[in-house]
Symmetry: C2
Subunit: 318 residues, 2 copies
């Protein structure tokens, strides 16, 4: 395509769905024009509020996100949804789930939904998610919801992009243990007890409150527990209110600026790392070269310092 | 000091305590001679078995590690202990704890204990711990025990260095919640229920077994639960037997080689990253420069791509 970057950027800012979709594909493919586009769009970003939604599979995150999105649409706010599933091999806007989810918002230009899944190696998914969030921000989506399955480090990196993190729990799933997995307790700003009409909700809430009472409040914020039944649209307004309260808390306390600087420190560091590592381990054979060198070192045929120096020298970085 | 590297290396291989201590200090300070030394020693490494021991504060890890070390000494194996505390501002061999711990092994040249604590920024502690483990390996310590407080990502990176990971739990500490923190469940090869004479041990073991039944066995290994009362030296032989069984399982299954290649992939990647990032963000003002650039980006005075390019260009890497 020979569409000039400035035209493309204008179309994105105007919220044109096809221009946004093409940009996301470019971001996913790590295409050079994606960077040029985002560079151009960056000055238009910074107005979106990013809410991260995480929790174990089966907690009803998608339904919850859809209801929250619908709630914001009713408030006449434009909404972007990024559904990230690092465990899925599928990617792009073509997967079935997106189509089904989009149907309920068919014809609503103020709503944009996109799924993202496994991308190559070395933290590419967190980078891509961050860039898509910037894009939707530039496209005028004031509420961006990032939904991810909470299991590993990848997902933690993803939700850390958000201004506000919701951790979703449900009663009776895996004997309550799911809750404590992978440090989710430490990253939640708000805990959502979904499917709260199920048996065991009371007990789970008590356990949760007991656990939260042990956690030090961050910057004076005590994470609340909000009960929802997303499938019946119950508790969504209370949840939106809690998010609004969290947002207000940080804007008032002046913590917001500090948080944003911290956020960009992490992101710049990540960008520096990946740009440099890409230079050394880029290309289709990057991982194979690393694996081979690891084998050589594991067998003590070469020491790791020499191995690293050689790899850096070969890529012209050393 | 003008001791030639080859003499120093010979002294380390001979197990001379002063040479080892000096090398650890050089590693901690990230001194260039540390790399030269390790480079020279690397071919002598690969015989040590690394056991990582992690768990919340108050679980009796230190006592457990001491007892396990004493057990291996009785089997006439040389032992190295690295006690890592990322939350402590102290470091080096001078801290009180080391002295007290060394007293019980006074005059035993087959035992080396060293504490390590917070080092600068950007994952320095995990790197230093990995290098000290290599050093002790070259010094002939066939059993290297790495003890760390299990709380954050730093510690997870540290225990992932180990061939075998022990997660230590005790009854009645923080309402059993400690157990599930920060993904500890996922990294444990063996679970140690310490202070097993306390009330609640039965219940904790049942909870633990229930949780472990939900976890997929890795490469055919079902993590066992071993009960100990380290302060009374109870269960230590059973624990050593479990470690031996785990070791045998992986050596037989041929998984060991694959694990070592994975291990070196992670380490080489880490070394590449830190060597490159150091070039850009090294020096005493590195973090300040990153913070300043993050502020500029957060305020939209510059886009992040331009910011990164400028930082790379200034450091001569781009």
């Amino acid at each position: 395509m020979t569409l000039p970057i400035e035209t493309w950027a204008e179309q994105v800012c105007a919220g044109e769905v096809r221009a946004i979709s093409r940009a996301i594909t470019a971001i996913e493919n790590h295409a050079p024009e994606a960077e040029a586009l985002l560079q151009r769009l960056f000055a238009k970003t910074g107005a979106a509020y990013l809410t991260g939604v995480t929790g174990a599979p089966g907690t009803g995150k998608s339904t919850l996100v859809d209801r929250l999105a619908a709630y914001y649409r009713k408030q006449d706010e434009q909404v972007g949804v990024i559904a990230v599933d690092p465990t899925s091999p599928y990617t792009g806007g073509a997967i079935l789930g997106d189509r089904i989810r989009m149907q309920s918002h068919a014809g609503d230009a103020g709503m944009f939904i996109r799924s993202m899944a496994t991308r190559g190696f070395m933290g590419g998914l967190a980078r891509a998610t961050a860039e898509v969030a910037l894009l939707l921000d530039a496209a005028g989506k004031r509420q961006v919801l990032i939904e991810t399955v909470g299991v590993g480090q990848d997902e933690v990196d993803i939700v850390r992009l958000a201004d506000c993190v919701l951790v979703v729990l449900v009663p009776g799933l895996g004997d309550d243990i799911q809750n404590m997995k992978a440090g989710l307790m430490e990253i939640g700003d708000i805990f959502v007890l979904n499917k709260a009409d199920r048996e065991g909700a009371e007990r789970l809430e008590q356990q949760l409150m007991a656990m939260l009472s042990l956690v030090m409040p961050r910057d004076g914020w005590h994470p609340p527990v909000v009960r929802t039944v997303a499938s019946e649209n119950k508790g969504i307004d209370a949840l939106a209110a809690a998010i609004g309260k969290f947002r207000g808390h940080f804007e008032k306390s002046g913590e917001r600026e500090r948080k944003h600087v911290e956020h960009w420190k992490r992101r710049l560091l990540g960008m520096i790392e990946s740009r440099l590592v890409e230079r050394v381990l880029g290309g289709t054979d990057g991982e194979a070269r690393l694996t081979e060198m690891a084998r050589v070192v594991a067998e003590r045929r070469k020491d790791p310092f020499t191995a690293v120096s050689e790899m850096l020298a070969k890529s012209g970085v050393a």
